[in-house]
Symmetry: D2
Subunit: 338 residues, 4 copies
């Protein structure tokens, strides 16, 4: 970390400042006197140095981080990719492309089993399904809750597919025993109390990027989970909020190579939420695989028009089958399998 001091600071001020910083954060300090400004470099593990606090010191003009503020999620300290293996042997992050598919929300036993069978037949390896649904309106369908999780378990029994579902609150966590991967939604990406609890859970966590969160903030939220003890975190880019209005969100495709470079964690793309439009799921999925994504999470519904949420972005099983066959072409071209 590079700290630029204001013009005109005295030697004594510099001495007090560097002593304070060095003791408080247990870092080495290197002072460099320029003609116009004095620069203090911090040496060692600066991830615990609080920029706000240092920046508030009266003699500090500005600060520049040189090291990333995350450690456990940082590829520099863990050069090898994290590979997550689920109970049934499905692997995530092993260099291939893992497809997760299923309905936005679980609506009935028939629905979820029918969709599960269909997506499995097409090539999906994991079943998604919402039981607790974050909805902008209190008057919109809020999900089936615990019953939804029970139906997902039935779909698992019928197909063998591992299950992923979203948790919205610490109070719901005890219900997630039979879920294979717990999802944290975009709106909860910085629900730090929830993240800390998920760090104590012995299951992989899929962490979705918040609508207006930077890549660094996403990695810091992954760090919350990892620092609490759970290192099996899957990152998911699902579109960010911009000024563009023709799609629901703007897919930040560059997040794939950037996250793969900065971190060793698997990176997924959610083309359904990114666009909010059925016909756009295919080209975005193809782009995601070409850009190096480890997986995709796609909404599929047996009857999108009757879906209780997100119908406009759900594929039919037939459409999903077409998407799979097209992304297989891209994956194959770069020596990956779906």
């Amino acid at each position: 970390m590079i700290i630029v001091l204001k013009n005109g600071v005295t030697e004594q001020e510099i001495g007090s400042f560097t002593e304070y910083i060095s003791k408080k954060y247990n870092v080495g300090v290197h002072v460099s006197h320029g003609k116009n400004s004095t620069v203090v470099g911090l040496v060692g593990d600066t991830s615990r140095v609080d920029e706000d606090s240092v920046g508030a010191q009266q003699i500090v003009q500005s600060i520049k981080r040189v090291q990333e503020p995350y450690k456990k999620a940082n590829r520099k300290f863990h050069p090898d990719n994290t590979v997550i293996t689920l109970n049934n042997g499905v692997k995530i992050g092993d260099g291939n492309v893992t497809v997760i598919a299923g309905p936005c929300s679980v609506e009935s036993e028939e629905q979820v089993i029918e969709v599960a069978k269909a997506v499995k037949a097409s090539g999906a390896k994991i079943l998604r399904g919402g039981a607790f649904k974050p909805r902008t309106s209190p008057y919109a369908f809020q999900g089936m809750g615990a019953d939804g999780l029970t139906l997902l378990q039935k779909a698992h029994e019928a197909t063998g597919l591992p299950i992923i579902s979203e948790v919205m609150s610490a109070l719901q966590l005890p219900l997630f025993d039979d879920v294979d991967i717990i999802q944290v939604g975009a709106r909860n990406m910085q629900n730090f109390e929830l993240l800390k609890l998920l760090g104590k859970v012995n299951k992989p966590i899929m962490l979705k990027r918040g609508l207006a969160n930077t890549i660094e903030e996403l990695l810091m939220s992954a760090e919350y989970i990892m620092a609490s003890g759970n290192e099996n975190v899957i990152l998911c880019e699902r579109g960010i909020r911009t000024f563009e209005t023709s799609m629901r969100n703007t897919l930040d495709i560059s997040a794939v190579p950037m996250l793969k470079r900065l971190s060793h964690l698997p990176v997924f793309i959610d083309p359904s939420h990114a666009s909010g439009i059925t016909w756009m799921v295919e080209p975005l999925s193809m782009a995601a695989v070409a850009a190096g994504a480890d997986g995709l999470i796609i909404e599929v519904h047996n009857n999108p028009s009757a879906a209780l949420c997100d119908g406009a972005q759900s594929l039919t099983p037939t459409q999903f089958d077409s998407v799979i066959s097209n992304i297989k072409k891209i994956a194959s071209a770069i020596d990956k399998t779906i």
Copy 2:
């Protein structure tokens, strides 16, 4: 709500569609046949109509809401301003300007009592202080927790000032019995499970706007609390995330007149988080009062350089006193008191 149907839909399709909509949402339906397109108007209470679900119907081209999707927070149905009266008689939303001030986080008994006395002397009516702190980094100071709330209570006893503090999780709620106003932070604005619980609490809630949430989404989150039973919600604009980098956030000053027009709830501005810069608190506070804000929430610390969080945006008591004297001039010019 206006629903534009695709070209070429048949009379039978229109009939099935309108029957379905009218029964599902208990609304009246009015069909209008144009030359190029058929338009369906929904009449009655459309706040429960799910745009996603309707938009997913195959015959629908696009949808336009005419009514706002919120009811309890809507000024149309509650023309008079909501006025909230605290235990000690302090009023919020009565046409004057209420100033809340205090440290970002509670750090010690001495600190919080010293700050409380100072801000009271300058004219603050409510004491703020963070006990649970949402921090981007898991390695940063996370607040004193329950002890922080105890110290706030001591500051209340020493000064008589009512207290506001932030809750981050349902699990923390039982600790907030002595808090006068519960704050929901920007990152939890769409933590819908928490909002529902706060709807059962018999205390005013200050709801801060999320970094990338629209004004309509803020009102929908207020609606969550109100629909669950608690109508004492205070809205707070604290800066949104944009491309501009010279300030921490961009204060959306237009949110003040817009929220006052759309809703009857009190509207506060947080100039400290909006800018993240000490010297900018004063001009932004003056602008907020001029734009019609019902109150301000300002960070004050007796020793900003040593603050455990947000030191760079905290005023000293002396600076705060100057801010108060300047906003009094503006308030007085428009016949309000601080």
Copy 3:
């Protein structure tokens, strides 16, 4: 276009309004009386209807466009892809992928000829090179100007590659006689006077999307050129401005399928400006081809460290050769050639 009138308008007001609209814009009018609101539908060519003007009428509550406001750029009226053929037979938009490459700015005869030969050998079909450079700072290198265009012409003579270069002002246009494609930079996307002049030019125009312009605005700017007489417009997405700071811009990959659906014009991606980072050009190029882009425009420099602009995002010829070989794999997988 659907116009929702305010509650309580009289029959007489509606009559005057519809007569005014119908005469002013030569469109048909269809009035539909609902219980709560009256809706006026406009029938016919509404692309000339001025939303601002209609929206300012006192009896109007809100407006919803049903048709797109552009006609010549609209795929609805021109279902077939526009294919542009350059003098030497190079085709753009014919279903394959056309690669444009070259230095950010022309710096010397040796440099531009060396780069031209290298990119041609790797598979580029068109040479890019900046003679007039839009720079944020007046103190930065502004390009070689007319001399740069002369050197580009020499590179053309040496390699046979057609040339694309950016025009920044109407006053420079006479110098572009030997340029094969004229580029309009992102900062000039809404320089409407320049667009009108380019509509009179008998050369293809590459129109780059502005940093904060919507897809609809990009198409409206294309419409300016086309409405003035030049229908050979190439659209180029080059990254938009968002809150994310780890890349220079955020590549809006969804713009590719969206533009291809809305318009018949060829769509290019500029991965160099989108990311501003050398190593990210390859994954973004692969994603662009997978998403359906008609071409790429990539910065290549024989010595990026010494480049007078944009060195950090320029590939060496060797790196460019690797990018080409990887995008060939993607293109081949979807039956396209480079």
Copy 4:
């Protein structure tokens, strides 16, 4: 400027690099060797140092500017406010608030003279009126052109008010002889060729901030004009583009105190374009004055419903009179006059 070098660079590489930088930009160089990284500080006038070029050097990890990249617009080098005096004695930037008002576009002699008389009577000191109009659609009214400028001159003769009007192209400049202040619109803020030409003009320039341009970019564009010889630049914040949809743009009120601190140039606010809504002009104007703006530019039309552009945001003369009387209260409270 602080340049952080990559780990493992050799003494020889550092030597070549510092010699290169020091000669190329005529700056002093100070090398500081830390344990983990070497930091190079540049001393002297670094405004001409090209960050792109330096950042592209292979041994450079990252760069941090310490000085601002603009000089002539920088308050550090010109501590006193720039005060601009027009022919008739009207002053801009003298510590008071100057109000500019008039129609979005000039439509007829009667209209512009009627509006001019009305706004003068209310207290406006300068008349605005568009002759050349930047419109998103080529099919929308493009302004009266040269005739519009003639009518503005007649309004000047009838009222004595100085005139401001927007130029869109170098080719139009010769028509602006009788205009007192030339306006550069938001879409042309980075039309650098136009800015250079305006640097040769002997009239004040009002430079509007682009929709997605940072405060630093605005000052760099002002620097273009000033570096070309014209130091009479007025900065104008008119709303930036964000994700919020309830207003046309988001007024960045913080830009006022930030620009006043960074620069000595006068700062105006355009509340009409910032909001796009008539009723919001008043509270935003009041906020702007409270925040320290040097002036306002407001759209007024004698018959907004019939306005050929921007009717929805134009005030009637009566509404304008009310705005003026309210901002006078705010101005008076902070010892300024309108």
